[in-house]
């Protein structure tokens, strides 16, 4: 046999799981991102006392398909003086960075492309930090004054909050003692605590920084339509724009996954090391069965036959998935048992991921937008010092518990209290500073007749 073909086949045989994961990521993530958009629109509508997309497909479920089709068939516009190659390259770069960083993220114990690399999460953070390249190149290549300003603002925001996110993650790494994704989740199991409880300040700092990282409200000034600067995406339309858009949502999934892995226990079920709570293992099955039952209950109340059929179909799908979960449980003694860890782990991981992303959406529809200088002040004056103090405190707590045998929990509580005290002081100092700054800026003046007034 041809030695090249032989080596290729050997490669595929060893790495087929990883290759499958990679293919799934590239194929499925755009679809998932589209459906996350639908969920966002529905959640937005719910918070705004309305219904959201309802027309395209039952309850708007085919909306992402329609949107994707529309974007694909749109005219491809390239500005006249734009740099053609860079204009093409920029969204591709963004998308590539986002998808590649997903490679090291483990969506459950079996779904990971780059298994067991010892730099795990650092790889994720590092590769996703290549995303801003796509933004600034896109803004520059558009040959539009306002695009470049928007791109630079966006980049400034991203790299500022990268530091905060990094420090917040460092506090988690200190607790875990490793960068390896699998090992991080394992240590959370052996430590009997998710790191959000041991380092809550780290988690919340990371949460805020990740919102800024993905350009989500309240940090979405570079993208906001109602501002003068329209943002780096202005000149992009159709499919190119959809690449940027998907990159943004893929980034959201990535930061949510990193946060979940490091702070929320990854794919562990709640109280994973408490054996008498083992019945929680049945939660996925029961949850899905409950959703199915609810659909059956509502199916009879639907106004039209099509809608009843749809509800029945959804119920059926829920029951099928619940059955798979049930059959994969350790009690069934079926070959499906091998998939137990993978399935259940994926379920818990995705549940926590979804909760994290739901918080993103919730904040987007509740809070107004930061002004750019306020955004930068928040990042540099408040969050970075806070994250730094947090790292020091976590280190001190760990040192205390290992050197002096202090109870880990006690040490953590004490240092968290210290960090929160420092945070209060920081906020107070910052309020005074910003109040003074803005007061001096706008000193009272009498009405001046300016020839160009009005």
């Amino acid at each position: 046999m041809n030695p090249t073909l032989h080596s290729i086949l050997a490669f595929v045989e060893t790495w087929w799981v990883e290759l499958l994961c990679a293919v799934l990521i590239v194929l499925v993530v755009p679809l998932i991102a589209g459906y996350i958009v639908l969920v966002e629109r529905k959640v937005m509508a719910d918070m705004q006392a309305r219904l959201g997309p309802m027309r395209v497909g039952p309850h708007g479920l085919l909306q992402p398909i329609a949107d994707a089709l529309k974007l694909l068939i749109k005219e491809d516009l390239i500005p006249h003086n734009a740099d053609q190659f860079i204009f093409w390259l920029a969204p591709v770069l963004s998308m590539t960075a986002a998808l590649t960083s997903m490679g090291a993220v483990a969506f459950g114990p079996w779904f990971q492309v780059a298994r067991d690399i010892n730099i795990g999460l650092l790889f994720v953070v590092g590769v996703s930090a290549l995303g801003p390249f796509g933004i600034v190149l896109g803004g520059w290549a558009s040959n539009n004054h306002y695009s470049i300003i928007g791109a630079l603002r966006s980049t400034a925001q991203l790299i500022s909050y990268e530091t905060t996110a990094g420090f917040a993650l460092v506090s988690g790494f200190l607790l875990a003692g490793t960068l390896n994704v699998r090992a991080i989740v394992e240590t959370q199991r052996t430590d009997h605590a998710w790191y959000v409880f041991l380092a809550p300040v780290g988690f919340f700092t990371y949460l805020i920084a990740s919102i800024a990282e993905t350009n989500r409200a309240p940090f979405d000034l570079p993208e906001a339509e109602s501002e003068l600067v329209a943002g780096y995406m202005t000149e992009y339309s159709g499919f190119r724009w959809s690449l940027y858009f998907l990159a943004e949502y893929a980034n959201m999934i990535v930061v949510a996954s990193v946060g979940t892995t490091l702070f929320l226990g990854g794919w562990l079920r709640p109280f994973s090391s408490v054996h008498w709570l083992g019945w929680l293992d049945a939660a996925p099955t029961l949850l899905l069965a409950a959703v199915g039952a609810y659909c059956v209950f509502r199916a009879g109340k639907q106004p039209s036959r099509v809608q009843s059929l749809f509800m029945w179909a959804v119920a059926f799908a829920c029951f099928v998935v619940a059955a798979i979960f049930a059959l994969a449980s350790p009690f069934s003694h079926l070959p499906l048992e091998k998939m137990h860890d993978g399935l259940y782990g994926a379920f818990w991981f995705l549940l926590k991921d979804s909760a994290y992303i739901y918080i993103f959406m919730w904040l987007r529809f509740t809070l107004p937008r930061f002004r750019f200088d306020q955004l930068m002040r928040l990042g540099w004056h408040i969050l970075i010092p806070l994250a730094l103090i947090n790292v020091v405190d976590v280190g001190v707590a760990l040192a205390l518990s290992s050197e002096f045998g202090l109870n880990r929990w006690l040490a953590m509580v004490v240092t968290t209290a210290a960090t929160l005290g420092a945070a209060t002081l920081l906020l107070r100092w910052n309020d005074k500073y910003s109040a003074a700054a803005s007061a001096s800026l706008l000193a009272d003046s009498s009405v001046v007749e300016d020839p160009h007034a009005g």
């Binding site: 918070m47 705004q48 004054h145 003068l228 809070l367 107004p368 002004r371 200088d373 160009h452 009005g454």
Partner: protein, 376 residues
């Protein structure tokens, strides 16, 4: 989406000044308003408003219509608060005729005008919050505004440009359930205002975006002729409804909310509180709507005696005044409309100096202008 025009001019000191344009088409200028901004880096050092994109020659049209024929035109100026415009015009012509609307008409006019004030403030709140980035209050405000517009539709058949009042009183009798509808609206409205308040009032991002932004002290307000919530937010406790009461306002008890600093946050608080006070006025009014005729005997053909009159009311945006000159014929000789938005907009230049470009949108929003009124 907007005109991108940037040109550089040299200033006296040789530094480059950038002039950028917030073009007539812009998501946040609330109509066709063009603002030329002179920037020094990020800060605005000067501005110039270019208006007139919506100029329709309403005052000229008035000279060619009879008094009753002109009444629907008046709705189309401040199209967000059409009922107020109609009230001002009808009362001005009534003054010209030396006639007065009967008590029942005056009370119903008050109720509808106060509902319209609430509707106007709701629209302002929703769009202002949207400009600053809060996506949700808009929909809550629209939900309440919908209730008010339904009441208008039941009363006079139109939601927006209502032509609700006639010279001399009302054409339509209050429909059977008017009191009940208004009462039901007012009962729920307090908790709704609380909803908007919860989302915005204590929110530190909102405060950060609106505190000390667009300052206008009371001396400047009066000098520039600014009126309405802009004037009250700068600390002047004055309301035309209390100073020179019209319609039935002298019968009801309500407070005049004022601010202290004259910034965007104070204007926001003043308008929220005004909504509450309007609600109280409505509740007081529906308790006792006097019986009686709804139209004074002014005759079908209106020929006011020669002379002139100036009448102004407290519209939602400020002092809305009408100066009508009659030459004894059936058509007015001159109708001048004193537009609150036009005069408030003059203050824009003063308010945005020294601020960042991002604040310009917030400041235009806080003035609550309607271009139909600015340009007429």
């Amino acid at each position: 989406m907007h005109e991108n025009g940037a040109q550089k001019t040299d200033t006296l000191f040789g530094a480059d000044e950038l002039v950028i344009n917030m073009g007539p088409q812009h998501p946040s200028t609330h109509g066709v308003l063009r603002v030329k901004l002179k920037l020094d880096g990020e800060r605005v050092v000067g501005s110039e408003c270019v208006i007139g994109y919506l100029h329709r020659g309403v005052e000229k049209i008035a000279e060619n219509r009879t008094y009753q024929q002109f009444a629907p035109y008046v709705d189309r100026m401040d199209y967000v608060a059409a009922v107020s415009n109609g009230l001002g015009y009808c009362e001005a012509v009534e003054k010209l005729l030396v006639a007065e609307a009967p008590p029942r008409a005056r009370v119903i006019r008050t109720i509808l005008t106060e509902l319209q004030r609430i509707a106007s403030h709701l629209l302002w709140l929703g769009t202002h919050a949207l400009d600053i980035g809060a996506l949700t209050p808009l929909f809550y405000c629209m939900r309440e505004r919908e209730e008010i517009l339904k009441i208008f539709e039941k009363y006079c058949g139109a939601r927006l440009t209502t032509h609700a009042f006639r010279i001399g009183g009302l054409q339509y009798e209050a429909y059977d359930n008017l009191e009940k509808d208004v009462e039901r609206f007012c009962k729920d409205f307090e908790s709704r205002i609380q909803q908007y308040s919860d989302l915005l009032t204590g929110n530190s991002i909102w405060i950060g975006r609106t505190r000390n932004v667009g300052l206008l002290n009371s001396a400047d307000c009066i000098a520039l002729g600014a009126s309405g919530p802009v004037l009250r937010a700068s600390g002047v406790k004055w309301d035309m409804r209390k100073a020179m009461p019209y319609a039935a306002y002298d019968q009801y008890k309500f407070e005049i909310p004022i601010g202290t600093r004259g910034d965007t946050y104070d204007r926001y608080m003043v308008r929220i509180e005004e909504m509450r006070q309007s609600r109280l006025i409505c509740l007081q009014a529906i308790e006792n709507i006097p019986a009686g005729p709804i139209m004074a005997r002014v005759g079908k053909v209106l020929k006011p005696p020669r002379g002139e009159v100036y009448h102004s009311i407290e519209g939602p945006k400020g002092i809305l005044g009408y100066y009508i000159v009659s030459d004894g014929s059936i058509q007015p000789y001159r109708v001048r409309i004193r537009p609150p938005s036009f005069i408030n907009l003059q203050a824009l230049d003063k308010m945005i100096r020294g601020h960042l470009v991002t604040d310009v949108v917030a400041i235009i929003g806080t003035l609550d202008i309607v271009l139909g009124e600015v340009d007429r």
